[in-house]
């Protein structure tokens, strides 16, 4: 194949998807990409989550490694300025010149700013890029009031952002209703009521005539009737295709903008193609990402000689705006001739649902849902696949427990499950056939539910149904001994006040137990009753490390980690650590959690070492347990020039409060003294970051193999509220997580996500907050240092003998020296040094 030069202008969502589709094919292009924004593609659909804590990295759809790997030249921060179609040459606005054989325009669209006088005053913004959001956030600091001009989908998203930034928020809409494209009049009305109830003021049928200097605020908006003062304006009055380049070089442009394309995304110049929001297909612009992705896939195929045409796209949407669920499917306005409607409205529960049905009531043409979108997925399947409606179509939207269920089995193989990435039920089944038997694997393989996530429930249903059909039993039983999940066991133990494994096994299990259920039950028993873990009735349940209250290393020796709360230690105690390490010849290393790890202790040495440590005032650090590990801290306001709160005192308080708390997996925390975040709190299960007004609480972060940024859970908390939320959060996690499930994975599997979690913890939506707090208090009140107790318990100490019938240590634990300390001898070293180096 001959190498052809391909230039792509724009590295937004669609441009990036196009590159991915193309490199996945066996192509032979030399690719150059002009990317006007300072960073490569990010997830614009999730843009608003930036305000609730998602970082630039979280939103990133790609990274520089991708471009390197595929030898794609990426030019960031430079816009293409002109296209010379005769020379087939693109010139950038910083002078870069690139020739092409084929050119792809993926320039997206730009927000339309109505040319009213004053639109260019300061603190007037649009809402499209990360940069826009940064400006809005920075400006919000000095503002009290904000106005969004435009009451469409994006406008309402912007309104939520302003409200979350703490501004009094108004939405100005020119049309008589909100979301006029997607909703009918009644739906728009209900949406408005709901949004107003949340404290956002809505003004419909209102045209802004000019923006001028205000008296009580920065600006004054002048309307035909009345006026409004505000400090900030965000324009969201629609989008326009970014077609200037195409216009300038004479490509055919639609009457109202957009580069005209055919079914192969080809423009009026056969060497130039357009995809995404800039493209105009059959006089239509598609302002959603899914159709753009479809164009990207079709064009990549076309360029590689596989000619599947683009054939339009479904524009149905489901979203949550300011916490109000809204869905719109197909012909929402009932424009199809002869169509009929079914409406269900409940002004007490606050929902409105409308079906648009064909004349003989057999097919669903469209729907509007406000206040409750639980039927959306099912309705969409009816509409997209032309499924036969039940005899009484209204039953589909009636709030009843026994409404007709559309089993996923009823869906044809071509039914589209994930519209963002065009994944059909058939494709999912194929992937399952090929071995993807978990949601994670399925998502990676097919991309289903990887963009907006709206179809996650359906994907799960398809997976479950398919596995069941194949005879794979889908259960969440912890192991063969208990037909319960960890959550189920927790419940049994708590409710029936079960205090030992044998009791649980007798009443609810079978067989003898194993290394899966025993440690899991031991952990639950510890979380519930906080009994001594080396009690004879518990000791046989403990996992490797809990077994001897130390961390087993590969040679059979142990490491010892005393607790150093908040990482603060007196010189005297630090010296003790050194002395103990010296006395027992322990390899010494500083950990990432601001503690000291002492390696190479034999079983029988552990009680001796701990005798010395306890005498010096140290306590167990629980490094061996699925329990609270460390609370890392920075020096905070006490020493640091930037600190705004005393992060060390808070960290020590938190560490001492939760020390010894057993949980489904290890727990790590950190407290930073200001937003510079030197303690890396956002990579912890619980992260606390000081603000001028108090503390921001982050949850469910994770370092390690699969890093995950913690999410902002609540802001500006006082000490007491912060602790209360952490109490509830931890106990809720302990109650509901699976065995060995870190908070990050637990959170990703929580239906309802962060909002649900906030509801449970902050608003006490399940009515269990008081109970969670009491349980936590119970654990805190019964804390004893396990090591202190062990060295005083002659029965427990018996187990620390090396052999039942001999007190001489295991001679096969052998060390050699390296960099002034010992380390385990390798197999080939052992034979040689055994005689000289036994310690």
């Amino acid at each position: 194949m001959q190498t052809r030069k391909l230039v792509v202008i724009g590295n937004g969502m669609v441009g990036q998807r196009f590159l991915e589709e193309l490199v996945a094919m066996n192509q032979n292009f030399q690719i150059t990409v002009f990317c006007e924004e300072p960073c490569p593609a990010y997830d614009r659909v999730q843009l608003s989550s930036w305000f609730s804590g998602a970082t630039d990295e979280d939103l990133a759809l790609t990274d520089l490694a991708f471009f390197e790997r595929h030898s794609i030249r990426l030019i960031t921060g430079e816009a293409a300025a002109t296209i010379d179609r005769d020379q087939r040459r693109v010139t950038g606005n910083k002078g870069t010149v690139v020739d092409y054989d084929a050119l792809v325009l993926a320039t997206g669209s730009y927000p339309f700013v109505p040319p009213i006088p004053g639109h260019d005053r300061e603190a007037c913004f649009v809402y499209r890029t990360l940069d826009d959001l940064r400006q809005i956030k920075a400006a919000a600091e000095g503002c009290r009031r904000g106005v969004v001009i435009g009451g469409g989908l994006l406008g309402l998203e912007a309104a939520k952002a302003l409200k979350d930034l703490g501004l009094t928020t108004d939405v100005i809409e020119f049309a008589p209703q909100l979301m006029a494209v997607q909703l009918d009049t009644r739906g728009g009305q209900l949406l408005r009521e709901k949004i107003e109830a949340l404290g956002v003021n809505v003004h419909t049928s209102t045209a802004t005539q000019c923006i001028e200097a205000g008296d009580t605020a920065r600006h004054r908006l002048v309307f035909a009737e009345g006026e409004l003062e505000t400090d900030m304006v965000v324009f969201s009055a629609g989008i326009r295709p970014q077609d200037k380049l195409a216009r300038d070089c004479g490509l055919t442009i639609g009457e109202r903008g957009g580069v005209v394309i055919d079914d192969h995304c080809m423009t009026s110049d056969p060497a130039i193609f357009a995809i995404g929001e800039v493209a105009l297909w059959q006089s239509r612009i598609f302002g959603l990402v899914a159709p753009g992705y479809d164009m990207a896939r079709k064009l990549a195929g076309h360029l590689c000689g596989q000619g599947e045409p683009f054939s339009g796209a479904d524009m149905s949407t489901k979203l949550k705006l300011l916490g109000v669920e809204v869905g719109s499917i197909g012909d929402a306005h009932g424009k199809t001739e002869g169509s009929r409607v079914c409406v269900v409205e409940d002004s007490i529960k606050g929902f409105y649902k409308k079906l648009v049905i064909n004349q003989d009531a057999t097919r669903l043409l469209g729907a509007v849902l406000v206040g409750d979108t639980s039927d959306y997925d099912m309705l969409l399947q009816y509409a997209l696949n032309g499924l036969d409606l039940p005899e009484s179509p209204v039953s589909l939207i009636l709030p009843s427990d026994n409404k007709p269920v559309l089993g996923v089995d009823a869906l044809p193989a071509q039914a589209q499950i994930c519209s963002c990435n065009n994944v059909s039920k058939g494709a999912l089944c194929q992937a399952i056939e090929n071995g993807c038997t978990t949601i994670g694997a399925l998502k990676t393989e097919t991309r289903a539910s990887a963009t907006c996530g709206g179809c996650a429930t359906l994907v799960k249903q398809v997976l479950d149904a398919e596995l069941k059909r194949r005879g794979v039993e889908v259960n969440d039983h912890i192991c063969e001994h208990f037909a319960y999940s960890r959550q189920g066991l927790y419940h049994l133990i708590r409710v029936n006040k079960i205090r030992s494994f044998d009791e649980l096994l007798e009443t609810h299990g079978t067989g003898r137990g194993c290394d899966i259920c025993k440690p899991a039950v031991a952990s639950i028993l510890a979380s519930c009753w906080n009994d001594y873990v080396l009690d004879p009735k518990h000791v046989g349940l403990q996992d490797t490390n809990d077994n001897f209250l130390a961390n087993l290393q590969k040679d059979g020796s142990y490491s010892v980690v005393p607790r150093i709360p908040g990482g603060e230690i007196t010189p005297e105690k630090l010296l003790v650590l050194g002395q103990v390490a010296q006395k027992y010849d322990l390899y010494t290393k500083i950990t990432g959690g601001q503690r000291v790890d002492l390696f190479g202790a034999r079983v029988e040495q552990l009680p001796l070492i701990w005798r010395d440590l306890v005498d010096a005032g140290f306590e167990s650090g629980h490094a061996y347990g699925k329990a609270l590990r460390t609370v890392k801290s920075c020096v905070g306001s006490t020493w640091c020039r930037y600190g705004v709160q005393d992060s060390v005192s808070m960290a020590i308080y938190v560490e001492e409060r939760y020390r010894g708390l057993r949980s489904p997996h290890k727990l790590k925390m950190a407290v930073s003294g200001c937003t510079r975040e030197c303690a890396e709190a956002q990579s912890k299960d619980v992260g606390v970051i000081a603000t001028e007004k108090g503390w921001n609480l982050y949850v469910c972060g994770n370092g390690g193999m699969r890093p995950r940024h913690a999410e902002l859970f609540a802001s500006d908390l006082d000490d007491e509220t912060l602790i209360r939320y952490i109490d509830r959060f931890l106990m809720f996690y302990i109650r509901t997580a699976d065995r060995l499930q870190r908070t990050s994975v637990w959170r990703d599997n929580l239906e309802g996500g962060l909002e649900y979690l906030q509801d449970v913890i902050i608003n006490d939506s399940l009515g269990i907050a008081a109970e969670l707090e009491t349980q936590m208090q119970g654990v805190i009140d019964t804390y004893v240092c396990e090591w202190k107790r062990t060295i005083e318990d002659p029965v427990a100490l018996q187990r620390f003998r090396p052999f039942l019938n001999d007190d001489n240590p295991d001679e096969q634990i052998v060390y050699v020296r390296e960099r002034g300390q010992k380390r385990p001898a390798r197999a080939e070293e052992k034979d040689k040094v055994e005689l000289v180096e036994v310690v």
């Binding site: 194993c514 290394d515 349940l541």
Partner: protein, 119 residues
């Protein structure tokens, strides 16, 4: 304290007195010496079992510290290092049929545990 044993004294099917049974907490294991060898002895509801203490996968002498239980009806101990399961009766590794631990005959006389050296 129990007697120490000289390797030379160990002969096929000689029985050795190891320890009081109540020194092994029910449901757990403990290590003992048998001449040059190390044995892991388990005190389970289904009886007393003994296998080599040496974990063939990690090379460490740690099997006595594993969790005991049953898998598919077979009594097992799980290695505390890499978690393979070994049948307490036959010594067979459930994950890798080519690996088999040495097993030892055990008996309890007058509340003391005795182990037979050799096969």
């Amino acid at each position: 304290m129990s007697q120490q044993m000289e390797a030379a004294a160990v002969q096929r099917s000689d029985w050795f007195d190891i320890a009081d049974l109540d020194q092994i907490v029910p449901g757990t294991g403990a290590a003992a010496r048998l001449g040059k060898e190390q044995v892991a002895i388990f005190n389970t509801r289904d009886g007393i079992f003994a296998v080599q203490n040496h974990d063939p996968f990690s090379g460490a002498n740690v099997l006595s510290r594993g969790i005991v239980g049953d898998i598919g009806g077979r009594l097992v101990v799980a290695s505390p290092v890499y978690k393979q399961h070994f049948c307490l009766r036959s010594g067979e590794c459930l994950e890798d049929g080519s690996v088999r631990l040495q097993t030892f005959a055990v008996t309890v006389r007058d509340s003391r545990v005795w182990i037979a050296a050799g096969e």
